[in-house]
């Protein structure tokens, strides 16, 4: 009953309607295999949206995720080229750690220096991109330079699903457990919902925000490898502007930009919603030029709907009984 009225239910409904609409024009789209492919394609967005969700929950925002992803992806590719013998797991671990470190830079600037998160990540966004140019000398790393195991990991199938999808599933489950069942997870909500009160319950607001940035950074690092390995190419501009998709997914998923409000289900559904639109437009034969306007309209609609459902129900002090004389 409460589920039916929740944001997640509304979003699930919207997603189903969207799929039904697409199916009328292209029935093949809702074939299980294709849906699995869409999920796989949306995996990076899901992973980053979850990281971003945690950051937004703590009243921050991370505009640097896409740049972080690109930098980590480039480092993964360069590592692979420089040391073809290096096991892929080592590379994955290394770039995840690197992503976490870049997130930590953001987090420290917010926590210790007290610069507003939007300013910090606006700055690091451009810096990270610039660093990619410096370390790669602006050159591409191409498919034939990468080793086969490096490229194979995200697409090798496990129980019928590519590893990339499993990564997303693992991150979904991991974030859900973190957010619902750990003290740290609950403190994300506390810090964003009421930072003042958080101090009174012994939660260090700055440290919690820092942790959120580290988490978001680590997920961006992991996605950096997945991205580069999947598309088998690395260059300065990969995932340019992707941070806006990530934030849009969160917004559609009902993550409150002012902090403290949001759920794992919402973020995942928001990402899937965008993913389905992205994947469906080319096949239902809507001109690709419509894509941007559609996702813009979706964001605005979602924001309006969310604000409607969240509006405080006015307290009723008047009794609806007999009228007073």
């Amino acid at each position: 009953m409460t589920f039916l009225r929740s944001r997640e239910a509304v979003l699930t409904g919207a997603l189903l309607v969207l799929l039904a609409l697409i199916a009328t024009r292209f029935p093949g789209f809702i074939a299980p295999a294709n849906l699995a492919a869409v999920f796989n394609d949306t995996a990076p967005l899901i992973i980053l949206a979850l990281g971003q969700m945690v950051v937004i929950l703590t009243r921050c925002i991370d505009l640097s995720v896409a740049a972080n992803l690109a930098l980590c992806g480039m480092v993964a590719a360069l590592l692979n080229v420089a040391f073809p013998g290096l096991p892929v797991v080592v590379i994955v671990a290394a770039v995840t750690a690197l992503g976490a470190a870049l997130g930590a830079v953001n987090g420290l600037l917010v926590w210790k220096v007290g610069i507003p998160p939007i300013v910090v990540t606006l700055g690091t966004l451009t810096i990270f991109r610039g660093v990619i140019f410096l370390i790669s000398d602006g050159a591409w790393v191409n498919a034939h330079q990468m080793t086969d195991p490096f490229k194979a990991l995200p697409r090798s199938a496990l129980l019928g699903l590519p590893v990339m999808s499993w990564c997303a599933i693992a991150v979904i489950v991991g974030t859900a457990v973190l957010v619902w069942r750990t003290a740290l997870g609950r403190s994300f909500y506390a810090v964003g919902g009421n930072p003042h009160a958080a101090v009174y319950t012994g939660i260090d607001v700055g440290r919690t925000q820092f942790t959120a940035f580290v988490l978001s950074g680590a997920l961006a690092g992991l996605t950096g490898y997945l991205w580069v390995a999947r598309y088998a190419v690395a260059y300065v501009d990969i995932a340019a502007g992707f941070e806006l998709d990530v934030i849009a997914a969160c917004v559609i998923g009902g993550i409150g930009i002012a902090g403290g409000i949001g759920s794992v289900g919402g973020a995942v559904l928001g990402a899937l919603f965008l993913g389905v639109i992205k994947n469906a437009l080319p096949v239902v034969d809507i001109s690709p030029f419509w894509q941007m306007a559609i996702s813009g309209a979706a964001i605005i609609t979602a924001v309006i709907l969310n604000s409607r459902t969240r509006r405080a129900k006015g307290r009723l002090i008047l009794r609806q009984t007999e009228g007073h004389a």
């Binding site: 292209f26 093949g28 789209f29 294709n34 492919a37 394609d41 991109r129 140019f133 790669s136 602006g138 050159a139 591409w140 191409n142 498919a143 034939h144 697409r155 991205w227 598309y231 088998a232 190419v233 260059y235 300065v236 501009d237 990969i238 995932a239 340019a240 992205k278 994947n279 437009l281 080319p282 096949v283 034969d285 690709p288 030029f289």
Partner: protein, 307 residues
């Protein structure tokens, strides 16, 4: 020593094709002896970015600008200003409207390229079939011209049915997704023509991932270094490109001739370009460098480490 400064302005830094062109330009500079080459361009492929670059080149009073443009018209005012200040301006690869340059160097003639990309697909489809085009951005000048030229010669390839054109915006992920979309929408698709070096690589990857190697042939314009994997995997039978090293070399030579040796850009003029011979200008002040060259399994090894 009196240095001649020639600026090679590209669409954006960090694209393999242009890096190769810069190599050729360096070669020309070395050959000419007194040339200082400035290889530059904006961060992403925008006209605004190129204008900023042009302004700073004007300020440095370079001798010549050879540019591959992001926008036919938007650069005209800035380049006109450059010409007013006595700077030689030519465009190469992707052209600028005639008002904004003295001449334009086409890598090859547009009709030849338009014909080549469809021929590459048709050669492997004796019985004809559905093919689709995966282009760069919707606004890329040369891709649009080539697709137009291709459409003109289509009747000469009976059975080849172009089912659609999509745009990957020269982004790897978008091109990949568009290619995947094409294969879903048109299950009988036989070939994807991608006249862009970013798109062709992404399309080849998409074909491999969809398990359609052998069913869908990816072809178009690409760099041997980037396409070596696709040829190897069989996702692409063959593709074409002109030699970007030669292109950069020729552009530099032409710029030098116009700015230092008194060559005049006029209809019918024949301008020498070092080891590449001479370029003949048409009434639009354009000339074509050479035919595109086809790469396949037989010669890819030889070229993949060059550009």
């Amino acid at each position: 020593q009196d240095d001649v400064r020639i600026a090679l302005v590209v669409k954006a830094l960090g694209i393999g094709f242009f890096d190769a062109a810069a190599k050729g330009a360096e070669e020309a500079a070395a050959e000419l002896g007194n040339v200082e080459l400035i290889y530059t361009g904006p961060t992403d492929t925008t006209a605004e970015g190129q204008i900023e670059v042009i302004n700073s080149l004007i300020a440095q009073q370079v001798d010549a600008i050879a540019i591959s443009s992001n926008d036919t018209d938007a650069l005209v005012p800035a380049l006109q200003k450059a010409m007013e200040r006595g700077i030689t301006v030519i465009s190469w690869d992707s052209g600028v409207a005639p008002a904004g340059r003295q001449m334009h160097l086409n890598p090859s003639s547009n009709p030849l390229i338009g014909n080549m990309i469809v021929k590459l697909a048709a050669d492997h489809l004796p019985d004809g079939g559905d093919v689709a085009v995966l282009s760069a951005t919707s606004t890329s000048t040369n891709q649009n011209i080539w697709i137009e030229e291709m459409t003109k010669v289509l009747p000469e390839y009976p059975g080849i049915n172009v089912v659609g054109t999509v745009y990957g915006d020269d982004l790897a992920d978008k091109s990949y997704r568009e290619a995947t979309g094409l294969m879903q929408t048109y299950p009988d698709l036989k070939a994807i023509i991608a006249p862009t070096s970013v798109g062709i690589v992404a399309a080849a990857q998409a074909v491999v991932d969809a398990g359609k190697v052998g069913q869908v042939n990816v072809t178009g314009l690409g760099l041997p270094s980037e396409m070596a994997g696709a040829i190897e995997s069989g996702a692409s039978q063959s593709f074409a490109i002109w030699n970007p090293i030669d292109l950069g070399y020729s552009a530099t030579m032409l710029a030098y001739e116009l700015s230092q040796n008194g060559a005049v850009a006029e209809a019918g003029a024949e301008i020498p370009m070092g080891r590449m011979g001479t370029l003949t200008l048409d009434e639009n002040m354009e000339g074509a460098m050479a035919d595109p060259f086809v790469y396949d399994a037989s010669n890819i090894e030889e070229f993949k480490s060059i550009f």
